[in-house]
């Protein structure tokens, strides 16, 4: 299997550690998202811890909407968000934003889905890496078919 060539945004300081035989990674500034196939300007994955995600969809919501708008303008085919937590963490409120309840979080997740920005609750970091790799692989296959 040919390793995927993945670009990791320079602002990601503790990057996902993809197995070396499945992906070669390099750092570069991405205009949007955190992980993309090298050279792909229309698909990128946004990585979030639960704390990041809750902050983004609460106090950071206006800024995030602007970012999603820029991605739409650039013709992104999808804007997936992978959260390194499971649904149980949302219901139990295991994050540092006590004013943000589970109902509000689910509302935002629903709104994001309707904006072609689906939110995936991957469970933990390792499972997030598996999901991200599979998404990027499918995107690579899609791009290859178009050539």
């Amino acid at each position: 299997m040919e390793p995927l060539r993945i670009v990791i945004d320079t602002r990601e300081q503790t990057a996902w550690n993809f197995p070396a035989e499945l992906a070669t990674c390099r750092r570069a500034k991405l205009d949007a998202g955190d992980y993309a196939i090298d050279g792909d300007t229309r698909f990128a994955i946004e990585r979030k811890t639960l704390d990041d995600f809750v902050g983004t969809i609460s106090t950071g919501w206006p800024r995030f909407l602007r970012e999603l708008g820029r991605m739409d303008a650039a013709g992104f085919v999808a804007k997936p968000i992978i959260v390194e937590a499971d649904a149980a963490a949302i219901y139990a409120g295991r994050h540092n934003h006590p004013k943000v309840g589970a109902g509000f979080l689910l509302k935002r997740i629903s709104q994001l889905m309707l904006m072609n920005a689906p939110v995936y609750l991957a469970g933990n970091t390792a499972q997030a890496i598996g999901l991200a790799w599979q998404m990027l692989r499918e995107r690579q296959k899609q791009s290859d078919r178009k050539l």
Partner: protein, 141 residues
């Protein structure tokens, strides 16, 4: 000076962590770190002032300190730990300059253990160099 983004998350190493007394005489926790040459500080008040969710400022501060690695009351034990500082751009009332204020402190994202990653790929039917038995029933996809 470059204008900071309205909101930003920076992963930092905590360089100093201590309890101090404010000018008003209130105890507070102070976490310090440096990002791109700029000193960033987070202040957590240790007062009994109530929060919106019925807790207190002190309890919230301790919750944050524990999240980034404080064990017992050993705040100095946090020094050297990694954390995510969420900063917000704020205009300095005196100088008019826009600078970064640390609004929240979160635990830093962690790299996954290689054997956990290998177990995930094993569950996908993809062997990697790190042999690890798949954890049956634990992988949701």
């Amino acid at each position: 000076m470059k204008t900071p983004p309205p909101r930003q998350r920076v992963d930092v190493e905590i360089e100093n962590a201590e309890f101090r007394t404010s000018k008003a005489g209130n105890l507070m926790a102070v976490l310090s770190a440096t990002d791109q040459g700029e000193s960033l500080r987070w202040f957590g008040m240790m007062t009994a002032a109530p929060t919106a969710d019925g807790s207190t400022r002190a309890a919230k501060t301790v919750e944050t300190l524990r999240a980034v690695g404080m064990i017992g009351q050993d705040i100095a034990g946090i020094i050297g730990q990694r954390a995510a500082f969420v900063t917000e751009a704020e205009e300095d009332q005196l100088t008019g300059e826009t600078r970064r204020r640390v609004a929240f402190v979160n635990p830093a994202p962690k790299a996954a253990e290689p054997d956990e990653v290998a177990a995930v790929f094993a569950a996908l039917g993809i062997a990697t160099a790190e042999p690890a038995p798949p954890a049956a029933g634990e992988i949701p996809f």
